[in-house]
């Protein structure tokens, strides 16, 4: 709704672009239709608690943490796909009530509809978000974003005819086509081979630079986080995971993936991240 105003006026704002305030999520067991035993107090699984985080406009933020700690849960909350049990999410000064086209979401398994061609997948997003747009407009716009990820030639192919990397590029094009302010990505490159992964990381960086979006990226790769982010958020092991640290990555851009590994600053942060992840992962393994 207030997308235009928030994009143009940024000088006199005293809030960040995205604020998570005391955010918590408890998963309750599904209530049975008739349940004689558990009356009243339902016990649940507290995935995350007391999450406080501020993210500035057009920054690139990575969230890293041991597996199962609640990263996906956190991203789903920001996307509005799930409702928090406590706390709130504020975007440009307004608490969100659900999903919205100001946030484009990219899932690990691409989540392309197999009955639609590449271009139809993007058109589906556009038709849903902009119902007033004409058919020709939608087609033109879908083409533009396919061109942006270098897949114009594959526009009439079905997802099953594409490689994993190509599918994720289509998903990125779909997420960007609705012109979101924020790109939310849940381990988007986790299922790809190393070469494709590097290629898409570069692609994502160039898209991020050109499109003026805020990116929240969930990853389990320290190298990926370091190469891409302005800020890395570390989560503790679950249950009741919290944010244990925020690290600013003040490495110069553009970052060259070979040279950066010689940079003492890079190595220092990397060691810190490795130590943290090792500690938290050990905590997970020793509990279970």
């Amino acid at each position: 709704m207030n997308k235009k105003s928030s994009k143009t006026s940024s000088s006199n704002e005293n809030y960040s672009h995205l604020e998570l305030l005391n955010l918590g999520k408890i998963f309750f067991k599904e209530k049975k239709f008739i349940d004689f035993r558990s009356k009243g107090n339902r016990s649940g699984f507290e995935a995350i608690k007391d999450i406080n985080l501020k993210i500035e406009k057009n920054t690139f933020v990575s969230i890293i943490g041991p597996s199962g700690c609640g990263k996906s849960t956190l991203l789903n909350l920001i996307a509005g796909l799930q409702a928090p049990t406590s706390g709130k999410i504020v975007i440009d000064g307004q608490a969100i009530k659900g999903p919205g086209p100001d946030r484009g979401v990219i899932f690990q398994n691409y989540a392309l509809m197999p009955w639609l061609t590449t271009i139809q997948n993007i058109e589906f997003a556009l038709n849903t978000v902009f119902p007033a747009k004409t058919k020709a407009d939608v087609k033109e716009r879908a083409r533009k974003y396919l061109r942006m990820v270098g897949l114009e030639k594959a526009s009439n192919k079905f997802p099953k005819e594409l490689s994993g990397g190509m599918k994720q590029r289509v998903a990125i094009a779909r997420a960007l086509s609705i012109n979101p302010n924020m790109l939310l990505m849940d381990e988007p490159f986790g299922a790809l081979d190393a070469l494709t992964r590097s290629y898409l990381q570069d692609e994502l960086l160039s898209i991020w630079r050109k499109n003026k979006v805020t990116v929240v990226l969930i990853t389990h790769s320290i190298e990926e986080a370091l190469l891409l982010s302005d800020k890395i958020v570390l989560m503790s092991s679950g249950p009741s995971a919290i944010i244990s640290e925020e690290i600013s990555v003040d490495l110069e851009r553009p970052r060259d993936r070979e040279k950066i590994e010689q940079d003492p600053k890079y190595l220092k942060i990397k060691m810190r991240l490795e130590k943290h992840l090792l500690r938290e992962t050990r905590a997970v393994e020793e509990v279970t």
């Binding site: 796909l81 999903p99 979401v105 197999p114 009955w115 849903t128 978000v129 609705i178």
Partner: protein
């Protein structure tokens, strides 16, 4: 093996096996090895040619061409079946989406599904007092369960990623149903429709023996005429028609198989 040669070989083997079957049948019948006066394959083929060469004559309800009877049966099946699909798909989607609908409807489905649809025939006759509508009604009951159950199962087991994409775009419930859920469960719906059609085609023959006219009644009538070779003609025609119907759904299923 070379594919062209292998298909030709399959064809040759099929023809050979058919020839052997026809000859064996004729020999067994001619020698009276089974029972006396059992019609042989030659006599049956002769009848088949006779019936097929003039399929659409109409000399009153007890003397219809086999094509006319076939069309009567097909018409009943198509009407009852189509109505069943129109009810089963929306109901299945509802049951797949809503816990409440699932828990309130499932007991009836589980209870009625195993009942032979022929049990509904007297009910139909009593209520409708019309054999045509009763036939359609029985086919409706027959066809509804497989499509309903497959549709509901399809919705319940839909890939949650598709729903999340739809939700993240802020799609309305109706958009999600029309543009995401229905296409996603097309393979399930078609699988259900294929089973429904197969069962409907089985049931119509039995139902028509009690209803008058139709290919099932043709069999009953020829039994009264003690003309076994005409019954064999009907069996061949029923089998062939069922095969064509099944192949049609097989073709549709291939079209909507997203995995290949």
């Amino acid at each position: 093996m070379n594919k062209a040669i292998s298909t030709r070989l399959t064809f040759v083997v099929a023809i050979l096996s058919l020839l052997i079957f026809i000859i064996l049948w004729q020999v067994i019948a001619q020698q009276g090895l089974l029972v006396k006066n059992f019609p042989g394959s030659f006599k049956t083929i002769e009848s088949l040619i006779w019936w097929v060469s003039d399929p659409f004559f109409d000399n009153g309800p007890n003397d219809l061409g086999i094509g006319t009877n076939l069309l009567i049966s097909l018409r009943r099946v198509l009407i009852g079946y189509s109505l069943a699909v129109l009810v089963a798909v929306p109901l299945g989607v509802l049951m797949g989406m809503s816990k409440l609908a699932q828990s309130s409807l499932n007991p009836y489905v589980q209870l009625l599904k195993p009942v032979s649809p022929l049990a509904w025939l007297p009910v139909g006759l009593f209520v409708f007092r019309n054999s045509e509508i009763t036939g359609i009604f029985v086919i409706f009951i027959t066809s509804i369960w497989p499509t309903l159950i497959n549709t509901a199962f399809g919705v319940a087991s839909i890939n949650p990623d598709y729903l999340r994409v739809s939700k993240s775009l802020g799609a309305s419930k109706s958009t999600t149903i029309r543009r995401v859920i229905l296409p996603a469960i097309m393979p399930n719906i078609l699988a259900g429709m294929r089973i429904s059609m197969g069962t409907a085609w089985l049931v119509i023959v039995a139902a028509e023996m009690l209803l008058g006219t139709g290919i099932g009644y043709f069999i009953w009538n020829e039994w009264n005429n003690l003309s076994l070779e005409n019954i064999f003609v009907a069996i061949i025609i029923i089998g062939f028609t069922g095969f064509i119907l099944d192949q049609f759904f097989g073709f549709l299923q291939d079209k909507f198989d997203y995995s290949i």
